[in-house]
Symmetry: C2
């Protein structure tokens, strides 16, 4: 059995006992019933994931998967692929949005080269990024498969391996990505997994595509889907035909984290495409996903619906990199602190009259 | 001129130059246009408030105003007023939700007795709470005015005084409250200020009122409005007739903070009632308000609409105490960090092709 099958086999549902214990503890705390709403829902889910009602979430890791995309040859995004490389350098120098917001969150950032179309060995040798490069960018999925089935499995297993490598020093993972062109495969993935043929409702401006180019972008993605005919019941097939290396890495990271009973905070549109692939491979893996925020990309709401999840934040963000995951980690800290530090009615001498 | 008029006279609009500088700086940072959405909107607003594009927000203070309400005699809430006092003790012992979430936010909590119906002098002498008690709870506004006009002014000026006392060590204020029965005056205030007569759409379960008692609660509030006929153009009159001491304190705190060019993070339903009173007294004061979260109380959306503000978070919370304000302060830290620590396209050597 390979790493992928082995990992999927280890993914268990949430621990119902821990969740029931969490609910009982919450109901003893000095506040009206469920008065902290979704923070308490989150606390219960985290208890179920971690099997621990103290909710260990202190050690946070944003895993930023980077890759390039052959589809950019079709004129679907205004930026050149070179910006992926430039941004990877920016990440290693601490100057990008994710560096700043990870610091605010108390999170570490690990950058992984999953398939950037340039030689990053200088950064690998310096220990600044992890090398899981599958290839120098995907192929143009408007003209054939984005990658071979073997490479899709490789991307997934590199993602799993990343989770396993980091696991000993991580309580919570967050996903992030960088890859010029990667909204196109993400739009393709949500279209296919929704069982639809027209990507137009799920195509957005990405990093700033002109509104008048949206129809062209949708037509290119539609052509890619029609040409490749991905099998929506086969996550590897969807990833191979219309996906991306960083999207596969994210899917693998999620599967790895779920197999370890560790929560994964899923960032925005591209990360959710990875989450969708993970969910096809293991529906149970969804139990370990926390959707960080609702992206400004129009296809993200559909992704959330397919995942059966409601995003925690809604701040019209569309940066990616894991910035939404980093921002929402504060809510996990809040949930954990409530479980550990709040007084009970009994300890505080507060009456429960009218509260039960 | 009294402290109230003097404070209102000092409230200036946001600084447009600082806002323009903030926008220009943001557009130089290594991300697609406005890719961090509302975090960037917030950064610009904070620059306008503080006149400083480095956005000083490190020193955070939650001011928790406590008061009791005569309206509880009408059976509008299941808990006895004694719980207000018990919770004030809980706050001073660090065991309440606000203590926990303020710690997560890096915020200090100051508890103010604005009108609790018990003798809290023991806590005042111990330096654990501030004493701005107007009276031992309001009168029952279903049978007459909640307080005299003089006491309403006193509550507002105590709130202003609190802001002035704390200002030297505070960059950002957050509002909070505790007061059994205080959803009723808050529902009355939003009804009156919306220019409506039926409070029913704005009446909710507060800290857990049974659904079948909602119609009674709405009828009591309606009677209070019809009996008192508050003048919606006179914030003092509305506060006096159907308000509360802690609601007046919150309104005053907001006016004081605005006069000092300091941002105020407004918590949920009751805090927004205070914000509405402040906005009647000084429409410009709204410029300094940040709505923390959308409360689960049904009247809160109308309050946000009247204030012309969109809440930052939406987590189905209904605890009050300032817990939503504390949770959302992380977003202010994020906005400030982005302004201070992110690389520019030029400094990071990232192309701007396709991004402008």
């Amino acid at each position: 059995m390979g790493l992928l099958e082995d990992t999927i086999a280890k993914i268990n549902p949430l621990d119902k006992d821990a969740m029931a214990q969490a609910v009982a503890h919450i109901n003893s705390l000095t506040m009206p019933p469920w008065a902290l709403g979704r923070i308490l829902d989150l606390a219960v889910e985290l208890a179920g994931m971690t099997r621990d009602i103290t909710l260990p979430v202190a050690r946070k890791e944003i895993v930023l998967m980077a890759g390039d995309h052959g589809i950019v040859a079709e004129g679907v995004c205004p930026q050149p692929s070179a910006i992926t490389t430039q941004m990877v350098y920016n990440f290693t120098q601490g100057g990008a949005g994710i560096n700043v917001l990870a610091t605010v969150a108390g999170a570490h950032v690990t950058v992984v080269d999953m398939g950037v179309a340039s030689d990053l060995s200088e950064l690998v040798r310096a220990g600044l990024i992890l090398d899981h490069k599958v290839a120098y960018g995907t192929k143009n999925f408007a003209q054939g498969a984005a990658m071979s089935r073997e490479d899709a499995i490789r991307a997934l297993e590199y993602g799993i391996a990343t989770a396993l490598e980091l696991a000993d020093s991580v309580d919570v993972f967050g996903t992030g990505e960088m890859g010029i062109g990667n909204t196109s495969p993400s739009s393709a993935i949500v279209t296919v997994l929704a069982g639809e043929t027209d990507p137009a409702p799920y195509v957005g401006r990405g990093a700033g595509l002109a509104v008048e180019r949206l129809a062209h972008k949708a037509a290119v993605i539609r052509r890619g889907i029609e040409l490749n005919r991905p099998d929506k019941n086969d996550g590897i097939d969807v990833l191979a035909k219309v996906g991306g290396f960083e999207i596969g890495g994210i899917a693998g990271l999620i599967l790895g984290a779920a197999s370890l009973h560790k929560p994964v905070v899923v960032d925005g549109f591209i990360s959710s495409a990875g989450a969708l692939i993970a969910a096809v491979l293991s529906p149970t893996a969804r139990d370990y996903m926390i959707l960080a925020h609702g992206s400004a990309e129009p296809g993200h709401m559909k992704m959330a619906e397919l995942l059966g999840k409601k995003p925690m934040l809604d701040l019209s963000m569309r940066l990616g990199e894991g910035t939404g995951a980093a921002l929402s980690m504060n809510l996990l800290d809040a949930a954990s602190a409530i479980m550990n530090k709040m007084a009970t009615f009994e300890s505080a001498g507060v009456e429960t009259e009218g509260l039960k």
